[in-house]
Symmetry: C2
Subunit: 544 residues, 2 copies
Amino acid sequence: SWINDAEICCLSQGATVRVEYGDATTTIDPTGAHAVAQAFPRTYGQRLVTFLAPDDTAGAGKAVDERPPIRVGVVFSGRQSPGGHNVVWGLHDALKAYNPHSILYGFIGGTEGLFANKTLEITDDVLASYKNQGGFDLLGRSIDQIRSSKQVSAAMTTCQNLNLDGLVIVGGVTSNSDAAQLAETLVQKNCKTKVVGVPVSLNGDLKNQFVETTVGFDTVCKVNSQLISNVCLDAISAGKYYYFVRLMGRKASHVALECALQSHPNMLIMGEEVALSKLTLMEVINKICDGVQARAELGKHHGVLLIPEGLIESIPEMYALIQEISILHNNNVPVTEIPTQVSPWAAALFQFLPPFIRREIDTEQLLAHLVEAEMIKRTKEGRYKGKKFSSVCHFFGYQARGSLPSNFDCDYAYAMMSVRRHLRGPGAIPIGKPAIHPSPIDLKGKAYELLREKASSFLLDDFYRTPGGIQFEGPGSDAKPITLTIEDQDYMGDIEMLKLYLDKVKTIVKPGCSRDTLKAAISSMISVTHVLTVMSHPLNAELP
Amino acid sequence: SWINDAEICCLSQGATVRVEYGDATTTIDPTGAHAVAQAFPRTYGQRLVTFLAPDDTAGAGKAVDERPPIRVGVVFSGRQSPGGHNVVWGLHDALKAYNPHSILYGFIGGTEGLFANKTLEITDDVLASYKNQGGFDLLGRSIDQIRSSKQVSAAMTTCQNLNLDGLVIVGGVTSNSDAAQLAETLVQKNCKTKVVGVPVSLNGDLKNQFVETTVGFDTVCKVNSQLISNVCLDAISAGKYYYFVRLMGRKASHVALECALQSHPNMLIMGEEVALSKLTLMEVINKICDGVQARAELGKHHGVLLIPEGLIESIPEMYALIQEISILHNNNVPVTEIPTQVSPWAAALFQFLPPFIRREIDTEQLLAHLVEAEMIKRTKEGRYKGKKFSSVCHFFGYQARGSLPSNFDCDYAYAMMSVRRHLRGPGAIPIGKPAIHPSPIDLKGKAYELLREKASSFLLDDFYRTPGGIQFEGPGSDAKPITLTIEDQDYMGDIEMLKLYLDKVKTIVKPGCSRDTLKAAISSMISVTHVLTVMSHPLNAELP
């Protein structure tokens, strides 16, 4: 929700949900609070809203016929992700439970349909063949953007023409940034339509203390893990080639990490690790070659390597080159002229790349090629004595994102109509126009820790795990993502725990307690206040 | 089985199977009978063997302790295919049921392990973690060949050293050809080891009147169909690109046909169709472009096209070029020099191909490239008015063949220890050295007929079907391949039916029947005999 809690809650406060208001919220990075507050004067700092099971004993809910019917629009914006249809289904059921005369419009053709006011009224009949189904084909998607003033104004006109109480935008990081901006704009222009962003994205990169995962992440990781385990078994059966598997998932490595924990491939090169260690391309290559060599010494000449889609951007020199090349590509400069038009440094790197890569940079093919070259070099120098290195390359993503959603994603998407505050996501940038940034892998988190613990065994022991296809009944059908299960996600529980401790202090330090107890309490509270003040206002922060 | 029925049957005639001998067999193509009989003097023309459930009422079976223990070896030869492990498991259980002291050796590292006598004794403990699992990693595979006299002689030496009663070769078309040849050789050299070929191959191209399908075909088609349906939903959700999906499966189009019936993509270009109609590359391209154009007229700018791996060889001019190029590649001729070294005609075609294809011919990329060029041409000529054609290419195969086997393949593989007669497969060639050839799609068969019936609806209506991942419990978990279900596979039932009719004639035409009845019977039998004689000896056949 990007607007006033009391208003937005009408959207989902149907017969089956109760709403509780909490404290006002802030940005996760205190240095960004000022900028976000300035950019979102009407929607920043709202109170936290928690949805609860209906409180039958209170009997306070209005009867269905006393609630006004509401009008809501829903639009798909962003790469298709399993579970999208169930968001629409859940929204429809919630609206009808609130008041059967409520209306839900789907915008046909994504944001283009929103701008052009092309709608389909969502009914039980319309939903019948889309429940629990993959794809976004009920409504489709198009340019996935509500950003230019023309687009924002077209969206507002549609909201007004349809007299919408709410607009639900289903999408990932960029779509939710756009949703936040649109929410602020509509409030500023006194348009009554409340904007809700729903985090549906295979990337799993829109997560924070309130959003544990995105809809579709579980399914896509399960399908990818199934395929990765298939190529693991394929590799070990033939014993003669390495699979280089690139995984769709944008900049962050969430999909790759989850898939690695699911299927136990031999290696995973995470962009976040490479960026932290500032590895060069050749250092990455050498790391892989060292793995190949260690395996060869055990008589193993096969293996599986996972490469997150965003890895290439995490290698500083590659990122710079990609930036330069993509500008030239956009200007239709032929491949042969590229070296003459980039910086001398980028030209040198470009010439070093194999010709087939210069056309389009497929990371997995680039790495496989360079690893092969390095292994040949090591063989000539007598450092490597194993069999000839051989590779097969894959890019997994398109095969997964149209999948039937897992039970987890079906249920999560259907029940997803809750209020999110992405503005306080870890990636909110402190200057310029605030936007939601993909959250990277937490290199201090438990999931990464687990991977590091097992990395050496994964590399050498071939304990491949075969999760198989997504099951809809029987054992494993309700499995959750491993990363989600092991990460300490109970942020709200921790907030409650802090409150308990504060209450305990009050209980102990009551009038009548000893002077020493009081002194100890004051001293400790001064200390904790001091520490938190320092932590909340780093030295380089611009104070609001 | 390649040798005497009575002998080989000991392998599987355990406590739970009864054997019945039928008529002597022949080749399916009568013109090949002479050549096959000459090449396989000791193993051709054996009697048909049928395995039956144990006949408890007969009580004729020997007690377990009266049966001698037997020694059998098993080797994986050929591309890994789901269910291979269950063949070993089933063989192990059958041998132990026959006599608990029987021994099963697995050859480690495929045929290389067979030549070098590198074995692993198969026990319950060894099998524990491989039951119902994909891959061939229990034993591995290597060069997949027992062909040269050196290889055959090494295999025989191992059989003699281990004192094997039987050798089971698990593989596809070529491995079963090798198995047939090895069986004949061993009989000729008085080696007691009986050779059994087990048709395990994802291609589904080793089928005839006795072998309804190969082990692994069902699983691979299910995984591919899952992925194809995922890209179908992906295509229709975004509405802006065509998927060109090439499917592993060697020369014949069985995998592609089954997957098309499972997932209902928009187009399937079968090699068998192209070969029958002698289509040129440009005719194939135009066929696809016509489909794209017809869809654009309905406002559809997305779609999914299936391409069997063997399609390219079915286009005569491409086949000739591939032959010429592959010889040059094998001689390490650089790509730039190829045009000067191939025939003028091939050189012209080679120059016509896009540069990235010249390195390695990926059919799906070639077709996508040429379709795009043709659509641009049609746009310029004003014949096509739709949106710009855009494509995404895939090759599905490696992702599927390491899969957990489906329930069908698990059971089929476990129970697969029956006798096969591939020599009479439809592809046995009439002159030279007989070998098993992949059986092509029967263009008069019911499966193909079903596809033709639905082709226009598939092309235009987007009735995509989403079978989802392989289920191991619940609805759909015991589904069989569609092609298998609808094809009229009851060959043995038909043989029985013919016998019934012959018996009926005997019953009606007994001494005492009217002269007219007898005359009518003789006249009809002369006629049927004449027709069958003509059909069995085509005009161009070399009579034996």
